[in-house]
């Protein structure tokens, strides 16, 4: 990339940059609730389930096209950039994310330690992704790029899908954030006040699953891990109210994206990993600051 003017680079990778900015502003909002509910490990484990879904989708692709069909596409065409192939992979990513989330929630109701459950789920999803990827080399390049956090290949179709899905996440979040806060902070009080706690918890899981499935599919688990965990952690150190916490989470996410884009272009780094690195640097001032924090 050396020698290519910045303006041309931005134009060339505009969809990837826009995807990074959108994800960086919205995913930390979901991550802020994961942090407050002390379920941040979900933010690390669920993207692996989504990745497993994408790999499973590639593994089953020849069978699927032979028996079910995918809008008349051949296997070769389905591996290229097309809406039908993207929807197919997103469906698998979403199915596995929600299956993983559902299993974690259901097992959580039966007692035991949450850390152990989530750690076991992480190990299983990670190993399954590697094994399935080895068994089916189809789409290996795509999955490798996802895992490394290289998102510069994101095109207009992927950006549109990410913007629509995270747009839905943002709208649901804005409309219901107060009720979600009450249910998370004091579930019994919510029930007494007539707030439908179970429905709202299901909505929160739905928002999380949608964000994770869309994010993993388009910008990859590396970037998603970082965006769900690091900006809310940094924001918690500075926030003096719930509103400022949410605003700061989104702002730290955006700052991470801007810093990461600059670093990636300057030193030719994978964009996703560079954004996560910047998010980690933004933690430092808060950690050095005495006082409250997560």
């Amino acid at each position: 990339m050396e020698g290519v003017p910045w303006g041309e680079r931005i134009l060339l990778f505009r969809w990837a940059l826009l995807a990074a900015l959108v994800a960086s502003a919205i995913c930390p909002l979901v991550g802020s609730f994961l942090l407050l509910r002390r379920t941040s490990f979900y933010g690390i484990t669920l993207p692996l389930f989504a990745t497993l879904g994408v790999v499973l989708g590639f593994t089953l692709l020849p069978w699927w096209i032979g028996h079910v069909g995918l809008g008349g596409l051949s296997v070769e065409a389905a591996l290229s950039d097309s809406h039908a192939a993207m929807n197919y992979h997103f469906a698998w990513a979403a199915a596995l994310t929600f299956a993983g989330l559902g299993a974690l929630v259901a097992l959580g109701r039966r007692g035991g330690t949450e850390t152990g459950r989530v750690a076991a789920a992480f190990a299983i999803a990670n190993a399954s992704t590697i094994l399935l990827g080895r068994l089916s080399p189809l789409g290996k390049g795509f999955v490798d790029e996802l895992l490394q956090g290289e998102i510069l290949g994101v095109g207009v179709h992927e950006f549109e899908m990410l913007a629509v899905l995270l747009g839905v996440v943002l709208v649901l979040f804005v409309v219901f954030h107060r009720e979600l806060l009450l249910v998370s902070f004091d579930r019994e009080a919510a029930l007494v006040l007539g707030v439908r706690a179970t429905a709202l918890e299901a909505l929160l899981h739905g928002i999380t699953g949608l964000c994770v499935a869309a994010g993993t599919m388009i910008v990859g688990p590396t970037l998603l891990f970082g965006l769900l965990v690091l900006p809310p952690l940094a924001a918690r150190r500075w926030a003096r109210s719930m509103t400022s916490f949410l605003v700061l989470s989104g702002a730290f996410g955006l700052l991470s994206a801007l810093g990461g884009i600059l670093a990636a272009f300057q030193w030719d780094l994978p964009l996703g990993a560079a954004i996560v690195g910047t998010a980690a640097l933004l933690l430092v001032p808060g950690l050095l600051r005495p006082g409250a924090g997560a």
């Binding site: 942090l35 407050l36 002390r38 804005v174 409309v175 107060r178 009720e179 806060l181 009450l182 998370s184 902070f185 004091d186 019994e188 009080a189 919510a190 029930l191 007494v192 006040l193 007539g194 707030v195 918690r236 926030a239 003096r240 109210s241 719930m242 509103t243 400022s244 916490f245 409250a292 997560a294």
Partner: protein, 239 residues
Amino acid sequence: MPPLLRLTQACFGYGGKPVVRDVDLEIQPGQFLGIVGPNGGGKSTLFKGCLGLIAPLAGRVERFTRRLGYVPQREHLDSIYPLRVDEVVHMGAYGRLRGWRGLSTEDRRLAQECLERVGLAARARAQFSALSGGQRQRVLIARALMARPELLLLDEPTSGVDRGAQQQILELLLDLNRRERIAVLLVSHQLQMVREAVGEVLWVGGGRVQRGEASTLLDPAHLDRQYGSETADARTLED
């Protein structure tokens, strides 16, 4: 006058196993009742049954008002939430929110009034987690008042706070009860405090509920005669 809450032969428990049985109870407007008893005797189970947080295994629970104010044990609330005092109080109106709309001007004014009633209007912008135990308890009472309650239900409101704060909380509850005729039902393991503040109590122990005058039912000699070692646990805790 119709009661606010009526339990008829109600039985509450978990996993199909009853913890308290055959409870007949009516709470009238303006009453001040305490729920006391030994640890593990079923106080919390009965309290949750009255709140509607657990369904009765048998019998009937009828609530004749929707204006319930609930004050949880503050230790159950996680301090990781970066909430300001006014944000906690505003939560009391979240049951009335519809769609996009936030709190109404009326609800914001009411929140200010509720904070004034508990003596914490000046701390509205303070961090909830930075307040003392007694102050946090009063903030939670202010939040419960946002429901304009006819019946206020409190879970161990004076537990873990110093004597001065205990006194402030009790005076506040007595004032709300006398001036505004808000009925109060509180769970406590502090027998002496309940004996001094509350007219009537429900003694919950061994799966049964007995109702009577606090001065009679919580008289140490009576307790020893009636329950022997069962009360030792409860009385030790208050010291």
